[in-house]
Structures are given as C-alpha cells and as structure tokens.
C-alpha cells in the first residue's frame, strides 16, 4: 500500500493543564478530540439550559491528534488521600508535583536540584483493551486496563485527569476499518530549570501506558525521564513511547548541550539513548520556530530564518523587562543541533541529535489544528496575560498560530503513524497543508519528475525523508523532491508554491558548515501581498518537482540534507487583525487600545508559509560503523 500523508497536532493542552485558557476552560480531552475530528465544538459560556453560546469548528478535520497536558499537576488526589492507599504509595504521595507553565518563573527559579527516585517494579501480564468486556458490572464502563507500576492501584481509585485523558483517547480513536481518526495518549514533561525550556511531549504508541506519567518533579532531567519511561513503559509489553522536544529556541543553550547533567561529555551509549527516545523535534509552534537563527557565519546567510523568530532565548520572554533572558542563540536551533550531531557522531560513532521535524500548535484552548493565520484566536498558555487584556490583538504580537505535523504512513492507525514517527518519515508545516515528498539516493533518473512512477522509484532507489543514504554508488547523492500546493478549502484560502530549497549542513575538518540551495520554483517570481488589503498578487506554482544532485559533495564529509518548501507571501495574523481594526500608524493617537504593537516595525507584516521535511543523512563509510 502506498504511504499517504496524514495531518495532525501532537501538542494540545486542555483543562487539565492548569495554565490552559482563561475563562476556566471547560474544553477537556473529549472535546479536543471531537474538535480535531471536525465536529463543531460548543465552547463556553453556556446558557441556562447548558447549551453553548459559541461554537467553533475546523474547516478541515485533522487525521490525528494527541492531548498533551502538563503532567506536573495531575496530582492523583484520590490515591493520595484515600487512607487505604496512603501507606502503599506514601513515597509517591509525598513527592508533590511541579507547578504549571504559567508559574514557571516562580517554580523554576526556586525548584532546582530535586531528588531522584528509586524505580518501581514493573508488573507482568497487563491486559489490553480488546480483552475487556464492553460493559462491565453495574453498567459501568470498565476502567482502562493498565494501572501503572502496581497494576491494582487505579482499578479501585476514582476518576482522575490521567484516566480521563486515556478514556478520551479511547473514545475518539477510530478502531474500525475506516481509520478516520487516530488519537495518542500523551502528556507534556514540563522541565524548565531557571525558565530555560527543556519541555518534551511524551507520546505513547498504544493504550498501554504508565499508571502515572513520569513528571519533571521526580525526573528533573531528560535522561532521568527516559530512564523512568524505559522502566515504566519500555520494559512493559505493548508499551512504547517517544519524546518530542519543543521550543529549543527558548532553552538558553540547554536543549542541545553535549553534556549530561553532571557536566560529563556524551558517551556513545548516552547518545544512542537520546537518538532512540527522540526521533522527532517540534520545529515550529505557538512560541516561534526552532529551525534556524541565520547568524552562523560564512555561507549561512538565510533570510528565511527570520520567519516567526522570537527575540529572546527562554520562557521568561519579555517579562521582567527581559532581565532573565537574552537574545536568541544559534545553538538552540535545530539546524545547528543537526550539525553538532554530525560532530558528535565523528567523535562517538553515534549521532545524539538525529532529529526529524514536525510542527504543532501548543494550543492551551483545547483546539488542536487551529493554526491558520486568519481568525487566530490566540493560544493562551505562555501567550497574552488575560488579566491585563482589554481588547486588541488576540495574542502577544511575536507569538504565532503554530503548525501541523505530517506523517507518511500506510494507514491512519496508531501503529502505522507511530512507525512513521520512529523512522522520521515526517514533516512540519507552518499551518497550511502542502504535500511534500523528499527522497535521497545515488542514481535517480533526471527525468523522474516527468514520470508517473516517481513514488515507487523514490523508495526503490533510495530512502524517504528521515532516512540514511545507502552506501555511495555514484559521485554525488541525488535528491528527488516533489511538492503540491495546499489546495485550500472554502474558508481557508491558500497561496501557491514559490520555491523548494534544499538545506545542507556538513562537517569539514572538524568545523560545521551550511548551505541553502534553491532547487525548484523561482525565488524572484514577483509574488507579493498588499499589506493594506492583504490581497496577493503574482503567480506561483501548483506543483513543483526536481531531481537535484549535490554539486559540492565530498564523500569524506558527513552531511544532512532537508527540503524547505516555501509558499508565496501572505499577511501575518497580526497584520490581518490590525487591518480589521482600522489601525492607522501615521496617527499614533488614534490607534485603539491593545493595537499599539501594530505599529511596531520589528514585527514582520507578511509571512511565507512553509514546510520543513525531516533530513536525510549521509555518513562517510570510513568512520566507525555502528
């Protein structure tokens, strides 16, 4: 069966994230999944009969989604306060959990250096959902089967956020042959020492998940998280996980450090653990892009790195007048991390930073996939502070609607999609839905774009995005890339494609390098957008395709290649809102309250929506073979 692209959102907060939303969000995981499936979502407030006064709906449903609430506040009250349990679970109950993201400043400035926990034993013989009866005793729906490190625990305990999250994932996962929608059980591990962001979304392959999600408070560094997940999930039959770092742009240099928590250099084993746990990274979301800063010296002038670039380097942002933050740092961006990974691989034999790319929203409103520029309602969370809001722009001006995750998979099932994530056959978009195929090999025919068998040849003679080039079979690798524009939809007008670029990073003589190649389309196609009307002018491409050979290839240099597909310019969300409010910056006194940032010259008025494919890696043969 030929693989198809499935569009989804792997970063969604609902009411169980206590930093979510403002009006006491009542959008829970069930509602979030119904919204993702394209059903209208009644959102609050409600009239006296309990009917919602507002509804919202995606113009195009998603194919999959994962609710990823902050684990740090799930606090399983019933377990910890029921005297029958307290003795058994005292250790767990007394280790209280961390604060939500909203209080990250207080929490992370105070809570550093937390103790490590001993591991709990792992039970055997966990039943799976299909073994359970549909309706249990007394007409109750049976509780979810896996109740954690001690299998009995939650069988008796009352409903908790974590069990509700699991039930919602079960309720809206289409297990029929139609495969209309896939959910994943997941959560966010919210680690941010001193507000430097190390957050990870943890995604589980199936309904078999730990009884309590390992959280930052108990497992305060990523390696401790993986250790805990290996013990509580990896060692359990049917439980598989991966972790997806996000907002490396806000980690103040920490996300891609090449040391462990004790300051020791990476070892091959450590690098391998990271590579195994983290095949993907979120390249774009509400809090900006993490692709590139565009400041890393010769050959690195990449003006498209200015896209949705946040002007600070950690979660503190503009609070405290920027006192606890600094300008963005090159090493926090994925392009630089991929280059550092090549260096590490030369030294260790293993690449710790072998990341494919996805986008997601990080909505804190329980609205997965709500990522178009037009009608952006804000995502709350770390965005606008609601108590100081009095109308105007719907979010902090430098934040973004976020993007989508796209997975190439045989069918829309958990197994198939999870495999796609594992092999990194994935790409991220900035919210629109272009289709992108990217293959690497050594002998693709030059006329491949003029043939209907592009896809089977792509697989047969090379590897798709996320893969490793096979051993060299010619003088230079060839990359076949084919893209279709987002056809749009009734309420979502989209732009045609402008160009395809291939970005190469490599290591020569121990130093890292990068180069951006325009390989298809036309960067000077004259397309533009009128910032006074948001009308687009100029033409673009409905589809683009090329076979490109690296003209500067040196077989001794390790390298990676990824494609960036760029659309014609369109108005940024803020420009649309400023325009709708009739803001006239030539008359500052007349600018309405809340719209002052419309006249901030630092914020771009137009954007070019885009897609970033996962890289394809080349590794010289003479280096250590793993």
């Amino acid at each position: 069966m030929q693989r198809q692209p499935f569009f989804g959102d792997l970063h969604v907060h609902t009411r169980y994230s206590l930093d979510a939303n403002t009006q006491g969000t009542i959008v829970g995981p069930h509602d979030a999944y119904r919204f993702a499936r394209g059903e209208p979502l009644g959102i609050q407030p409600y009239d006296e009969n309990g009917n919602a006064l507002r509804t919202t709906q995606l113009a195009r449903p998603l194919d999959f989604a994962a609710v990823t609430d902050h684990a740090e506040l799930f606090g399983e009250v019933e377990i910890c306060t029921n005297p029958e349990y307290v003795e058994y679970y005292l250790a767990e109950c007394t280790l209280y959990r961390a604060a939500p993201e909203q209080s990250f400043i207080i929490f992370n400035l105070v809570a550093v250096g937390l103790p490590e926990l001993p591991q709990f034993p792992v039970p055997a013989g966990i039943p799976v959902v299909s073994d359970l009866p549909v309706i249990g005793a007394n007409g109750k729906i049976p509780r979810l089967p896996y109740c954690g490190v001690d299998g009995q625990r939650c069988l008796e305990a009352a409903k908790t956020p974590w069990t509700d999250i699991q039930q919602a994932a079960e309720a809206y996962y289409d297990r029929s042959d139609d495969c209309r929608f896939t959910t994943f059980v997941g959560y966010e591990w919210t680690g941010a020492p001193l507000s430097n962001n190390l957050h990870r979304n943890v995604i589980f392959e199936s309904e078999v998940v730990p009884g309590l999600p390992p959280a930052y408070q108990e497992f305060p560094r990523e390696e401790l998280l993986w250790q805990a997940l290996d013990a509580q999930c990896g060692a359990v039959d049917g439980c598989n996980y991966l972790t997806i770092p996000h907002n490396s742009n806000l980690s103040a240099g920490m996300m891609f450090e090449t040391e462990d928590r004790f300051g020791n250099d990476y070892t091959a084993e450590f690098a391998q653990r990271r590579q195994n746990a983290e095949p993907l990274a979120e390249i774009y979301q509400h809090k900006g892009q993490s692709e590139c800063l565009g400041s890393s010296g010769i050959g690195a002038q990449d003006e498209l790195c200015g896209f949705e670039l946040l002007p600070y380097n950690n979660l503190t942002g503009e609070r405290f007048g920027g006192l606890n933050t600094g300008p963005p740092m090159e090493q926090d961006f994925l392009r630089q991390a991929l280059k550092a990974g090549l260096q590490q691989e030369q030294q260790l034999g293993v690449n710790p930073f072998k990341y494919g790319f996805i986008g997601s929203s990080d909505t804190h409103m329980g609205t997965p996939g709500n990522v178009i520029e037009d009608r952006f309602t804000g995502h709350a969370g770390a965005g606008l502070n609601p108590s100081s809001y009095s109308g105007g722009l719907t979010d902090v001006i430098e934040t973004s609607p976020g993007g989508l995750a796209v997975l190439w998979a045989e069918q829309n099932t958990r197994e198939s999609l999870f495999s796609a994530m594992r092999r990194r056959e994935a790409y991220g978009t900035s919210g629109t839905r272009p289709i992108v195929r990217f293959f690497g090999g050594w002998d693709y025919p030059s006329d491949l774009c003029g043939r209907g068998d592009f896809v089977p040849v792509g697989y047969a003679q090379g590897v798709p995005m996320g893969g490793d080039l096979p051993a060299a079979q010619s003088a230079a690798p060839r990359f076949a890339v084919s893209a279709l524009r987002d056809p749009g939809f009734a309420l979502e007008p989209t732009q045609p494609l402008q160009r395809i670029q291939i970005i190469k990073g490599w290591v020569a003589g121990g130093e890292t390098h990068e180069q951006v190649y325009n390989v298809a389309g036309d960067p000077n196609n004259g397309a533009s957008v009128d910032l006074d009307t948001c009308e687009s002018t100029g033409s673009g491409f409905a589809s683009l395709c090329t076979v490109w050979a690296d003209p500067d290839f040196d077989p001794a240099q390790p390298a990676f290649y990824y494609a960036r597909v760029v659309e014609n310019p369109s108005c940024r969300w803020s420009t649309r809102q400023c325009l709708a409010a009739g803001v006239d910056c030539s008359n500052p006194d007349a600018v309405p309250d809340g719209y002052a940032d419309c006249c901030n010259a630092d914020t771009p008025k137009a954007i070019q929506e885009r897609a970033w494919t996962s890289p394809i890696w080349y590794r010289p043969q003479q280096s250590a073979v793993r």
């Binding site: 692209p5 006491g24 609050q44 309990g50 604060a99 549909v134 729906i141 804000g378 774009c449």
Partner: protein, 334 residues
C-alpha cells in the same frame, strides 16, 4: 421533666387527664411531634444560604475582556450574562470544595499553597513548618485567590460530582445510532490515477494509450507527490486531497475503466476506480462500542455535572455588588 408537669391540673376531669398524660401512647406521639418539629427547624436552617457569592463590577469587566480576548469581539448582553453565570457556578464549586476541606487534602493544592507561602515569607521564623504555613494560607484565603489552586479545587469538586455516572449497552447502541457521522462508514473507493501537470491534450493522449495498453501505466504521466494508488478513501477525503471535481468523478466512475481527464488545481487527472466499498450503517464492533461508551459516559457526566451544580447553587445567595461594597470575602479575585 415529666410531660405531665407541663399541663395544669383540671378540677373536673383531672384524673382522666392525669391518666392520659401517663399513657405511653401519648408520650410516643408527643415525642414524635417534638422530633418532627426540630427536624423541620434543622431543615429550615439548612436552606439558609451557605454563603453569599458576590459578583462585582470588576468581575464582570474581567469576564467581558476575557471574552473579547478569546473571540476578538465584544460579548452581547446574553453572552455576557452566560459568562457571569458560569463564573457563579465556578464560585459555587469553589465554596463547596473549601467547605469540604479539599484544600487541606489535595496534594497539588497543598504543594502550591506551601510554595506560595515560602516565596512570600522566606524570612519568617516558621517558614519550614508545613502545618503553620498552611494555616496561614487558609487565614489569608489564598486557596480562593491563587489561580492554580482555584482551578484545581473546582476540578476536584467536579470530579466528585460526576463520580458514579454509568451507561448501559442499550444506551450505547442508541448513541451509536444517533451519531452516524462518527460511527457509520460512508462509501469508500480504491482507485488509481495518472497525473498530467500541463495540458488536457496530453492527458487525452495518455488516456487513449492507457485504454489500449494498460501495461504502459507505471510510468505514464508526471510525478505526483501523493502517488498513484489510493485505497479506502471516502468522497470527502478525495475532495480534501484533490478537489471536489475529482471526488465527483471518482464517485461516478464505472469500476475498472479509465476515465478523464478531470481538472483539479494541480492539473489533469486520469482515474480508474478498482473497487467500491459500500457504505455501512452503524453496526459497530466491540472496540467501537467501547469508544462510544466512553463518549456517552462523558456526555452523561456533563449532564450530571450541570444538574449537580444547579442543585448546589440553590444553597447559595448570589449578590451583585458595586466595587465599593465588595469585601474580601467574595473569594474570587482575578
């Protein structure tokens, strides 16, 4: 005191009355009446409001601006009123949670309160004593003021109110039947396509070639990122991938024949439907029934919550206050 002492002696029938007053039956009846009366008294006490929930003009203003923040529009009167009602519901839940002492028991709440107190009173002599700090937090009314604690308590209260909601197999079956868009299978198609990016005439040539010689197909036409083989797509899914005209053509195509060229935003498509999977009404398997069960349970929980809050609300007095009248006891500060 004997009941007889309460009754003044009568001259004529004093003896009779005296006997009556000493009869066990009467004692029983009178004691019953007293008990009944005191229960009525207690009940009357109970319907006295548990607390007053103050809605201040600042609260209303805040709700108005939150609405605007989320919708980029000002709420109309009805919308604002609903926002206020929701706010009151939350206040009721919060008061109930505090009344039940959940703030003293919930580990998340305790942790958060202690954290706040330690931040605020880092130099205080008893900063290390959890019990003392929690007591102080309580005295300050911190549980109602801290956003995180407030939301946590409301959530915990909601969970208590919906505990025990159940569904049965018959209700699940009815729910499935009532949601065909979620549980019934639409008609689906397996099909092949050949894509031509530029002109209809070339597409027409290829079509004729395909009809003569189907073996030519694997490399016919141009590269198309979605590929050439599609399995199990509904009409709506075809429309989302190509556009409506291609979806219409697929739905109308006779099985096993090449048709086209059909125009889309990408160019021209030649199509051959290999198989049609007929639509199926809602006859769900066990896994789907379980899914539907969880969805229905959630709906019932929402209804139960709505009813429980309405009942609780009747035990509180709601008062709208101008800011000058508002005291700190409203408990709901933003």
């Amino acid at each position: 005191m004997d009941l007889a002492d309460l009754v003044p002696p009568a001259a004529e029938c004093g003896a009779v009355i005296g006997r009556l007053l000493r009869a066990p039956l009467l004692h029983f009846a009178v004691i019953g009446a007293v008990l009944y009366g005191s229960q009525q008294f207690v009940t009357l006490q109970r319907v006295q409001p548990r607390a007053t929930i103050a809605v201040r003009s600042a609260d209303i203003e805040r709700l108005r601006s939150e609405w605007q923040r989320e919708t980029a529009q000002r709420p109309d009167a009805r919308q604002l009123q609903a926002s206020v009602e929701h706010y009151i519901d939350e206040q009721v839940l919060l008061h109930e949670a505090l009344r039940l002492g959940l703030d003293q028991r919930d580990p998340v709440v305790r942790y958060r309160l202690l954290q706040n107190m330690r931040m605020a009173m880092a130099d205080a002599p008893n900063a290390g004593d959890d019990a003392a700090l929690l007591q102080q937090a309580q005295a300050l009314g911190m549980a109602a003021r801290d956003l995180v604690v407030r939301r946590r308590l409301i959530q915990a209260m909601e969970q208590r109110l919906v505990a025990g909601v159940a569904v049965d197999a018959k209700a699940v079956a009815a729910y499935v039947a009532a949601h065909p868009q979620r549980y019934a299978a639409p008609m689906r198609y397996d099909f092949s396509q050949v894509y031509v990016h530029d002109e209809a005439a070339r597409a027409q040539q290829i079509l004729e070639q395909l009809r003569r010689d189907p073996a030519a197909r694997p490399s016919a036409g141009d590269a198309f990122a979605l590929g050439s083989e599609f399995a199990g797509l509904s009409r709506a899914q075809v429309a989302a991938k190509f556009d409506a005209s291609v979806a219409d053509a697929v739905a109308a195509a006779p099985v096993g024949q090449w048709i086209g060229p059909v125009r889309s935003p990408y160019g021209w498509h030649l199509l051959r439907v290999a198989r049609q999977h007929p639509a199926q009404d809602s006859t769900p398997d066990a896994a789907q029934l379980r899914s539907a069960g969880y969805a229905l349970q959630r709906e019932r929980e929402q209804q139960a919550l709505h009813a429980a809050i309405a009942k609780l609300r009747s035990r509180y007095r709601v008062q709208q206050l101008a800011d000058a009248d508002a005291d700190a006891g409203g408990g709901a500060g933003a």
